[in-house]
């Protein structure tokens, strides 16, 4: 797995480099087009031209990215969590979720347990954030907690933990900011061209200067300008394609990780099936956050793998996980992937295969111990009671977050008292016993 991360990291640096080149090129083009001033000096019998405007544009582009990246580095996860409306919870509020996160931390051998956040929303989704595996966080919606059973939840958390272990979070944040910067700069550039007279002014300045020299240079410069306009249109698209391609690959990898950590692909597969029914309100999801969720709420209905998708189609992800059969290694995932997508070209790095001969199974991996709510065959009644209990637990957790008080009556009723309850006594609704509130 470590080798997989390394291969991932290497490829990420290439992609990051590619996007940085695009960013700097965009900066250069914009600067050069708006201020086509040049300086020149003579060295060794040659005349060197320095495109001052272009260099300044490059500098500005880089600092726009650098500033945002720095902000994301220092306060990234807190900003993200605030944007998603997530609140950190303590273990008492939902012990099971905490236990699952801790189990997956062990399975993935992360250096520290990620913080756990809850999004107060009844849609079904989850995401991970953080600048490195030591300071990471996972967030799940309250709806997810009340809908999924323990196995499914474990699959989802394993997927998110795999994102953290692969350092996807960190990388996608930086790449996302770079993409944002490129789009921002070109947008500003386009506006500057179309709406301001400055562009015309610079054109005039251009031709007048060109006429003083030879007409040849003027034509060359004009051609350069046209090319730069075209590039400024293409660059954001290019950067977007790079970003999306990388995002899809990382989703596959995280799915594989989820299967490898839990040694139970069906958990994640059935969880994806459930989540795809209600991944969130399109109107409420921010476009910047959407790619980070386990299923992109804005693209949930897409059944095909388009160039602009951040995630592979859900059906395909489920099919791959189910095709893994009894195997639970990266190799099994890659084979299933090949079978589903109909290609032999496998997206997993070659080095991953060396490390993927399935290691001996441990008892817990072969026969998971009986968990509450994981009995071999649940009767419909039991299943209903279980889902009722989950709803109850989730409700209690949310009330905890809003500082409700809980009172256990001897008759078995659990009274939930809102923080602004005005009286000093509570009467039990079932047995009528009067409880004093301290």
């Amino acid at each position: 797995m470590f080798e997989l991360i390394q291969a991932n990291r290497r490829r990420s640096w290439w992609l990051m480099g590619g996007m940085l080149v695009v960013l700097l090129a965009v900066g250069f083009i914009c600067g050069f087009s708006l201020f086509p001033a040049t300086d020149s000096f003579v060295a060794g019998g040659y005349r060197f031209f320095i495109p001052l405007g272009g260099l300044i544009g490059m500098g500005i582009a880089f600092s726009i990215w650098g500033f945002q990246a720095l902000l994301a580095w220092t306060a990234g996860d807190r900003l993200l969590m605030a944007a998603a409306g997530a609140k950190e919870i303590r273990k008492e509020m939902h012990p099971q979720l905490f236990n699952i996160v801790e189990e997956m931390t062990l399975a993935a051998r992360l250096p520290a347990m990620p913080k756990v956040y809850i999004i107060e929303d009844m849609s079904l989704n989850a995401f991970a954030a953080g600048k490195d595996p030591e300071n990471a966080a996972v967030a799940v919606t309250a709806g997810l907690l009340s809908t999924l059973n323990r196995d499914q939840l474990q699959g989802v958390i394993a997927h998110e933990i795999a994102h953290i272990a692969n350092r996807d979070v960190q990388f996608m944040t930086f790449a996302g900011i770079m993409l944002g910067s490129i789009i921002l700069i070109t947008e500003v550039f386009h506006r500057a061209i179309w709406y301001s007279t400055r562009a015309q002014g610079s054109m005039r300045r251009y031709s007048s200067r060109g006429s003083k020299k030879s007409d040849g240079t003027a034509i060359i410069l004009l051609v350069l300008l046209v090319i730069s306009f075209l590039l400024a249109i293409i660059a954001p698209l290019l950067a977007q394609l790079l970003y999306f391609a990388c995002s899809r690959r990382r989703e596959y990898l995280a799915d594989a990780g989820g299967a490898v950590y839990t040694r139970y692909p069906e958990g994640l597969a059935s969880a994806l099936e459930v989540i795809s029914r209600n991944p969130g309100d399109k109107a409420k999801t921010s476009r910047a956050m959407a790619p980070m969720y386990i299923i992109n709420p804005l693209q949930a209905k897409r059944a095909f793998n388009s160039l602009m998708s951040t995630h592979p189609p859900v059906e395909e992800r489920i099919k791959i996980l189910r095709k893994m059969g009894g195997g639970t290694g990266y190799q099994d995932y890659a084979r299933a992937w090949g079978g589903v997508s109909g290609t032999s070209a496998v997206e997993m790095p070659a080095s991953a295969f060396q490390a993927s001969a399935p290691p001996p199974h441990t008892p817990a991996a072969v026969t998971p111990p009986p968990l509450p709510g994981q009995a071999a065959a649940l009767t419909p009644q039991e299943a209903r009671a279980e889902s009722q209990q989950r709803h109850r637990d989730t409700g209690d957790m949310l009330r905890h977050m809003h500082h409700y008080r809980f009172l256990n009556c001897d008759c078995g009723v659990k009274a939930k008292i809102p923080p602004n309850y005005p009286h000093s006594q509570v009467k039990c609704p079932r047995c009528g016993k009067i409880h004093k509130l301290s």
């Binding site: 797995m1 470590f2 080798e3 012990p95 099971q96 236990n99 699952i100 801790e102 189990e103 997956m104 062990l106 399975a107 993935a108 051998r109 950590y261 040694r263 060396q354 490390a355 001969a357 290691p359 001996p360 199974h361 441990t362 008892p363 817990a364 991996a365 026969t367 998971p368 111990p369 009986p370 968990l371 509450p372 071999a376 256990n408």
Partner: protein, 192 residues
């Protein structure tokens, strides 16, 4: 001219070679430490299980008057395992003790199914979640240990790691495997 250039090139090649060996060596050390750490994690989780059981038994006692034997066997297995780890018994003995405890706990959990009142007790439900999570953790910690061992062994056995491993005496680590036959068996289910 070549009098100077040749030694310089030779020196650079040697330097690159040394740097390469150092890189592999450090990689091996990192992997070995990962294996050690993963092993320590298993012990942490086993300890956690030892600490949890007294509370669990204490809570269950009130409801399970007629299951004294089951409870006693759990407590006994727990105490033996805890004693073993305190006196740092050798790995195979400890492993036997721990699987004895696992068996006793499994038996206990089956018996619990017969006591709906006990299952409905919030405190007990919480403890049960903790216990099953601990069982999971032990499993995942062993799984992670085996993953770490596999990576170490791949590196030690495969070229070029095997050369460096041979030079500095890095050995293959052994996987965690269940030694007790009873625990390997698939539990029997009867619908009588």
């Amino acid at each position: 001219m070549s009098m100077i250039v040749l030694p310089i090139i030779a020196g650079l090649v040697l330097l690159a070679f040394v740097a390469w060996v150092i890189g592999i060596f450090n990689g091996l050390v990192r992997l070995r430490n990962a294996v050690k750490n993963a092993w320590a994690q298993i012990d942490v989780q086993l300890k956690r299980r030892h600490d949890l059981i007294p509370n669990l038994v204490e809570t269950a006692k009130g409801y399970m008057e007629h299951e004294r034997e089951t409870l006693e066997s759990v407590v006994k297995a727990r105490n033996q395992a805890a004693e073993g780890s305190k006196q740092s018994a050798d790995a195979s003995t400890q492993s036997t003790l721990e699987s004895g405890l696992s068996g006793a706990l499994r038996n206990f959990m089956v018996v619990v199914e017969r006591y709906p009142d006990l299952k409905a007790d919030t405190l007990f439900a919480n403890l049960q979640e903790e216990l099953s999570s601990t069982e999971n953790r032990i499993g995942f910690a062993r799984q992670a240990y085996n993953d770490a061992v596999m990576m170490m062994n791949n590196k030690v056995e495969m070229f070029p790691g095997n050369i460096v491993a041979g030079m500095f005496n890095f050995n293959k680590e052994s996987f965690f495997e269940i030694e007790v036959e009873a625990e390997r068996e698939v539990p029997k289910v009867s619908f009588s």
